[in-house]
């Protein structure tokens, strides 16, 4: 069930009421939350609940066996088996069709047509996310960062917890398992933050993301050759806003719902379009995924330990694989290539900066400035560098988004070609859409602590005030939003 629906509201009301009633019986509470999570997941398709359970069982068993193993060799072998099984499940559902299509094409080219076992495979919702969480758990046990959990209930609940099950954030076992062991508590900060994040998330998704998708992005990306430069430019900026609001909106709601159940998650987005470099962008965008890629892909590949060439290669490979993770299409590969190449070039450029003066201080890196800035540097120069960095970074990200959003490589290339044609006026460059895109981008430059400050201000508010805030907040969102409920973009991954 989707978050912004009455079905979910009724579901959550029941889960909230019953789970807190059981707070003095932690094991029973966990069983209830697990059952609720499986009910939530089965609402899409009950068959996938078995897949979820199977994946959880693999990871729990692997964790136990690794924890009980004596030798390093045995631990490594078990880790290898667990990761292979996880990736095999993910690979089958995500890439089987692509693999067979490609194989059929190659065989046809070679004159060796065969009847290949094509299957109609439905991609289970959230498979990437719960697979990554499973891999995260067994790897952390192997690295001895956490102890293997004895209770299967804890592992099953960690992997299937419904707020973050289908589209993240990718929660670390080290962050969540201790909270399952502790007594659940609900304080005023969690209440006010939870309610505020749910409202903010609903607004981002139902108003901003849905308007931009239905009124602009979907139409322009469907056939970019029918539009001129102004529309294409506006549409790619709009898509940058749409995907941010769609994804971060979901994360906000997930974090808010978890907070109301007494669980703390980490932030998943931190105003990414104010980044002045790609490196900074990936510390602000989908933080849980970029940290997962860093810890479970980049570092095992060697990280930054092997010198400049090896580091750049590892960075590049990580981004390309991150692109492939999104789906079996060349557009996602190119999206990863753009980010990987940009990060590699950025790293190279930064490495050529001169050594700092004795009075140096560290500042945020960006194009036009180094990671080290002298305390004597004029403030105007720093602002210029930062502004230039933000603009360059944003446009590189937008270029990559064209490939990410386009249905095929041909569409993406037609889109880029169309951006050079400014002979005709824009049809979609009307005040409403332009203002929506501009305001959404400008919001990235508001103080980052605004949400926390607002949540702090709400803490003393009583239940009637909170009720009216929530009720009228949702009412306004429904009044302003377009009709219908579109699925979240990241459900397809």
């Amino acid at each position: 069930m989707l978050f912004p629906t009455l079905d979910f509201a009724l579901f959550f009301l029941a889960v909230f009421g019953i789970s807190w009633e059981m707070r003095t019986r932690p094991e029973a509470r966990k069983v209830f939350l697990l059952a609720a999570s499986y009910f939530f997941y089965s609402y899409w398709d009950w068959r996938f609940a078995a897949l979820l359970a199977g994946s959880s069982l693999i990871n729990y068993t692997a964790g136990r066996l690794i924890g009980l193993s004596g030798t390093q060799r045995e631990r490594k072998f078990l880790l290898g088996i667990a990761v292979t099984l996880n990736l095999a499940i993910l690979g089958f559902f995500k890439y089987y069709g692509f693999f067979l299509d490609s194989l059929a094409h190659v065989l046809a080219q070679a004159g060796l047509e065969r009847d290949l076992p094509f299957l109609e495979i439905i991609l289970p919702v959230g498979i990437s996310f719960f697979t990554f969480q499973g891999i995260s758990y067994v790897t952390d046990v192997y690295r001895r960062q956490i102890k293997a959990v004895d209770s299967p209930l804890d592992v099953f609940l960690y992997i299937s917890f419904f707020p973050q099950l289908v589209a993240g954030p990718i929660v670390r076992a080290a962050d969540f398992l201790p909270q399952l062991k502790a007594e659940p508590r609900l304080d005023r900060s969690l209440v006010s933050l939870g309610i505020l994040l749910i409202l903010v998330g609903l607004f981002k998704k139902m108003v901003i993301a849905n308007y931009l998708a239905s009124e602009l992005v979907d139409q322009v990306f469907f056939d970019p050759s029918a539009f001129a430069g102004p529309d294409l430019a506006l549409a790619v900026y709009a898509y940058a806003v749409q995907i941010y609001c769609d994804f971060s909106g979901y994360s906000d709601i997930a974090i808010g719902v978890a907070a109301l159940l007494g669980y703390r998650f980490r932030w998943n987005f931190n105003q990414p379009y104010r980044a002045a470099s790609l490196k900074e962008f990936w510390r602000r965008w989908h933080i849980s995924l970029s940290e997962w890629l860093r810890d479970y892909l980049y570092k095992p590949l060697g990280g930054s330990r092997g010198g400049s060439f090896a580091t750049t290669r590892n960075l590049f490979l990580t981004m390309v694989l991150g692109g492939i993770w999104h789906g079996a299409a060349w557009t996602f590969v190119i999206w990863g290539l753009i980010h990987g190449t940009s990060l590699a070039v950025e790293r190279l450029v930064m490495s050529f900066k001169t050594a700092p003066a004795p009075s140096a201080a560290v500042a945020a890196g960006g194009y036009g400035s180094g990671t080290i800035v002298s305390l004597d540097e004029p403030e105007e120069s720093w602002w210029f560098s930062r502004t230039l960095g933000v603009l360059v970074t944003f446009h590189i990200v937008c270029l990559a988004w064209i490939f990410f959003r386009a249905e095929s490589l041909d569409v993406a290339l037609a889109y880029i070609k169309g951006l050079t044609n400014w002979s005709a006026p824009g049809e979609f460059t009307q005040p409403f859409l332009v203002a929506l895109v501009a305001a959404s981008l400008a919001a990235h430059f508001l103080p980052g602590a605004m949400v926390m400050s607002a949540a702090k201000a709400l803490e003393p508010v009583g239940p009637i005030g909170l009720g009216f805030l929530l009720g009228f907040g949702i009412l306004l969102i429904k009044a302003v939003a377009p009709e219908g409920t579109a699925p979240f973009i990241y459900f397809q991954f």
Partner: protein, 177 residues
């Protein structure tokens, strides 16, 4: 003096603990709740707030309830549910409770349809001197004496309109070029 030193020492320890806790909880949306948290009270507070929110939505967005009930048309009791929700919606409409959401939707629809010309005319309009003997003159008169062109609605070419669902479906594989 020992009291002052002891006070200072406790303050520094507290600052150090706060700093350490912040560091340990870096990236989390909030700090962990402490032992004295009134969980029961907060739970009641949230439940009450959720009920009030539901009431606000039922009153001012009764049309949404009707839409929701249509999903249960084929279920047992579905017809009754539709009847009740429609009656409730009629009551709310008669009490003008639904006007609030209709007014906002109308304003948003107007904003969506507005063009740059509308904004320009809106800023450039000068109130005319009241003169009952003359007809109101247009603010802008074309040089050739023809009437002003009609505002062009933005039209999407037929070919550009997606035939299927507007949200992008799962990525389809494409052959390498």
């Amino acid at each position: 003096m020992s009291f002052a030193l002891e006070f200072r020492r406790k303050q520094q320890l507290l600052e150090h603990e706060v700093q350490h806790a912040r560091q340990a909880n870096k990236g989390f949306v909030s700090m962990p709740a402490d032992c004295g948290t009134d969980t029961k009270g907060n739970r009641r507070r949230v439940l009450f707030a959720l009920v009030i929110a539901g009431g606000v939505l039922a009153i001012f967005n009764s049309g949404g309830l009707v839409q929701y009930s249509y999903d249960f048309a084929d279920s047992p009791g579905g017809e009754k549910m539709i009847e009740v929700s429609e009656s409730w919606h009629d009551m709310m409409s008669e009490s003008r409770m639904t006007e609030f959401i209709d007014h906002i939707r109308g304003s948003i629809a107007m904003a969506r349809e507005s063009s740059w010309q509308d904004l320009t005319f809106g800023f450039a309009a000068v109130p005319a001197e009241p003169d009952s003997s003359t007809q109101p003159q247009p603010l802008i008169v074309p040089a050739n004496g023809e009437s002003l062109p009609e505002r062009k609605e933005h039209q999407v070419p037929e070919a550009a309109k997606p035939a299927g669902p507007i949200m992008r479906a799962s990525a389809r594989p494409s052959y390498p070029n």
